[in-house]
């Protein structure tokens, strides 16, 4: 099982991502900060928190380029914070002090009057070497303290990433937890049922294609052209690779897609269908299922040595494996007990124990990046649920319910889940739309994530390195 085959099964145009490293330089802005003791915090572990009123002012730039970038950056930051459900950006029409006048110290009274508890101000400048310099400060309006101040240098085209990085810095300073805005989503795009569009053919009746976008839906692009049915993409820890399943040449197998080169490579030389792949936390292995002679078992492959190890040995369906973040355990679903349930085993396949005991079937377990919870899909009474439980199976909580919802994926900070929701299909083929949704771990703040077409099988990336 060490044979390595290369395929370039599909033509596609793909601009590689701008190199992520060395574009950003960060400088701390100390300002006239006294020993700042933050007064405002948000406890994101609580249920339905009252969103924190925050004023995000346009970042001020002198040139037209810098000024436009400053407005765009402020807009993206405000939208990110609003979508988190933890912040309520104040309508800029209510602002009393102008952004331009903020170059001196803020007039905190002007911001208290409009009930802002936090204030974000910034400046943009195109410096002599053509790079864009972006600085921002976050103020606690009541204590009149600067909570954080940072400056970034980047190529002007990269302004959107800077906005996400600043959003993460604000989120972290106020909640105490890492943010999740500088991330991407890979998913399967589908043609609406009534469309006769690109890539729809009898081998791929719903025109499924891999697509990737920023977490807010921007920078959307397709990775495959729809010739071949593709399913269940998942990121490597570095975001440089995606593992997924493809029906290339009608031979369903697990593949790896390299984002930089666009190369698609079939993984290994297995005698049966391989599916349900995920990277190990260090990115050096892939865990997946292989089905042969009516039996699905879980295997792990070392990507460097190509050595394959079989982890489960049971006549039941064993699939949907997911590593714990410490890589010492694996959660998967199996019907070995008579119905589909969640099991945990160690990374060598030993000490298998069932952890789900509620009514119904449990599926698609995914270990939280924090390690404290496992998200799953549950099927009960003809309904689908998204829920979480602790790794020992206790503390089950259901977050969402519908006709068909499936496939949760975690934000890198373990506070938000994205899943997909599919509607009922009518006899005439109408309906049945499938879309991506996010929901907080608290069960609140459920929102649709916009995609150009129908969408399923989302996978949320780690923070971009």
């Amino acid at each position: 099982m060490t044979m390595r085959a290369m395929y370039m099964p599909e033509k596609f145009t793909l601009k590689t991502f701008a190199p992520l490293v060395a574009l950003l330089a960060v400088v701390a802005l100390l300002g006239d900060m006294r020993t700042a003791r933050a007064e405002i915090t948000i406890d994101i572990t609580r249920g339905n928190v009252e969103p924190l009123p925050i004023a995000v002012t346009d970042f001020v730039g002198q040139s037209a380029t810098a000024s436009r970038a400053g407005q765009d950056i402020a807009g993206v930051i405000a939208a990110n914070l609003e979508r988190s459900g933890l912040f309520k950006p104040i309508d800029r029409k209510a602002f009393i002090q102008s952004a331009g006048a903020l170059n001196a110290l803020p007039r905190f009274g002007d911001w208290r009057v409009i009930n802002a508890q936090a204030l974000v101000q910034g400046r943009t400048e195109v410096v002599s070497d053509g790079r864009l310099r972006v600085e921002f400060r976050l103020w606690d309006v009541f204590s009149e303290q600067q909570m954080i101040g940072l400056a970034y240098f980047t190529v002007p085209d990269n302004w959107r990433r800077v906005a996400h990085i600043i959003s993460d810095a604000i989120y972290k300073r106020i909640t105490g937890e890492d943010g999740y805005f500088d991330t991407r989503i890979v998913y399967v795009s589908e043609q609406p049922k009534d469309a006769k569009g690109v890539g729809r053919n009898k081998l791929n009746p719903f025109g499924k294609r891999l697509a990737i976008m920023d977490q807010d839906g921007e920078n959307h692009r397709f990775l495959t052209d729809g010739t071949t049915l593709v399913l269940t993409p998942r990121f490597s820890p570095t975001l440089q690779e995606i593992t997924y399943m493809s029906y290339f040449r009608n031979n369903p197998r697990v593949y790896i897609f390299n984002i930089d080169t666009g190369r698609q490579e079939v993984l290994g030389d297995f005698p049966g269908m391989t599916f349900a792949p995920r990277f190990s936390p260090d990115g050096k292995k892939i865990i997946m299922s292989m089905a042969k002679d009516g039996n699905s078992e879980i295997y792990v492959m070392d990507l460097r040595t190509r050595v394959v190890r079989q982890l489960t040995f049971h006549s039941a369906i064993d699939t949907s494996p997911s590593f714990a973040p410490d890589a010492n355990q694996v959660v998967f679903n199996s019907d070995r007990g008579g119905s589909q349930q969640l099991y945990v085993m160690d990374s060598r396949g030993k000490n298998v124990r069932r952890i789900s005991f509620g009514n119904g079937r449990y599926a698609t377990p995914v270990w939280s990046p924090r390690g404290d919870l496992i998200a799953f899909t549950k099927l009960s009474g003809g309904r689908f649920f998204i829920g979480v439980m602790k790794p020992d199976g206790s503390g089950e909580r259901l977050l969402a319910e519908d006709f068909k919802i499936e496939g949760p994926t975690w934000s890198p900070n373990g506070r938000v889940l994205i899943f997909y929701r599919k509607g009922r299909t009518s006899k005439d083929g109408s309906g049945g739309a499938s879309k991506l949704w996010s929901i907080d771990l608290t069960g609140h703040n459920e929102r649709e994530i916009p995609t150009p077409m129908d969408a399923s099988d989302p996978a949320w990336s780690p923070l971009i390195p």
């Binding site: 009516g294 369906i317 679903n333």
Partner: protein, 167 residues
């Protein structure tokens, strides 16, 4: 008995023409001309792969989350085996499918189980395993549209496709 089979094929033809173009409907050509109830003239014999669909019956159905071939479905496979013995050079692929009432990855495994169950039964009836391939499409290729039990029952299926050297 013969009548009953044709009736079933006719019902399938309606179901197939009403929905997505999939590999089995393409191979079956069972909707051609809408001639579901009128057998085509013997003067123009159908290609082998279409004869198989019309004369034998290409698919069996399964209960929810099950992969055992039920007694009434075995009759279809008995006819398939007899036909495969008659046309001994024909090879087939058994496609396994699931309804939408499961999770995607589990349904891939379930479709593989169903395809394999048909393969095993055909081997039991004396067909050489070398002539039989399987592939699972999970819930990815529904043949009947609609989110109700009638559609789901049509989609929980294993379809035997003549792949070579037929016709």
């Amino acid at each position: 008995m013969r009548f009953k089979v044709i009736g079933m094929v006719a019902a399938l033809a309606l179901a197939v023409t009403a929905c997505e173009s999939t590999s089995e409907s393409g191979a079956g050509a069972s909707g051609s001309g809408g001639a579901g109830v009128t057998p085509l003239p013997a003067a123009e014999p159908l290609p082998l792969k279409d004869q198989f669909v019309v004369d034998v019956g290409d698919r069996v159905f399964f209960s929810f989350d099950r992969f055992d071939v039920e007694p009434d479905q075995k009759k279809v496979l008995d006819r398939q085996a007899a036909w495969l013995k008659k046309f001994s050079s024909v090879t087939v692929t058994v496609e396994g499918h699931a309804d939408e009432r499961g999770t995607r990855e589990y349904n891939l495994a379930l479709g593989e189980r169903r395809a394999n169950a048909v393969k095993e039964y055909l081997i039991y009836l004396g067909i050489d395993a070398k002539r039989l391939k399987t592939v699972s499409y999970g819930e990815e290729r529904p043949v009947a549209l609609g989110s109700d039990e009638a559609a789901w029952a049509q989609n929980r299926r294993a379809v035997t496709i003549v792949t070579g050297p037929g016709s």
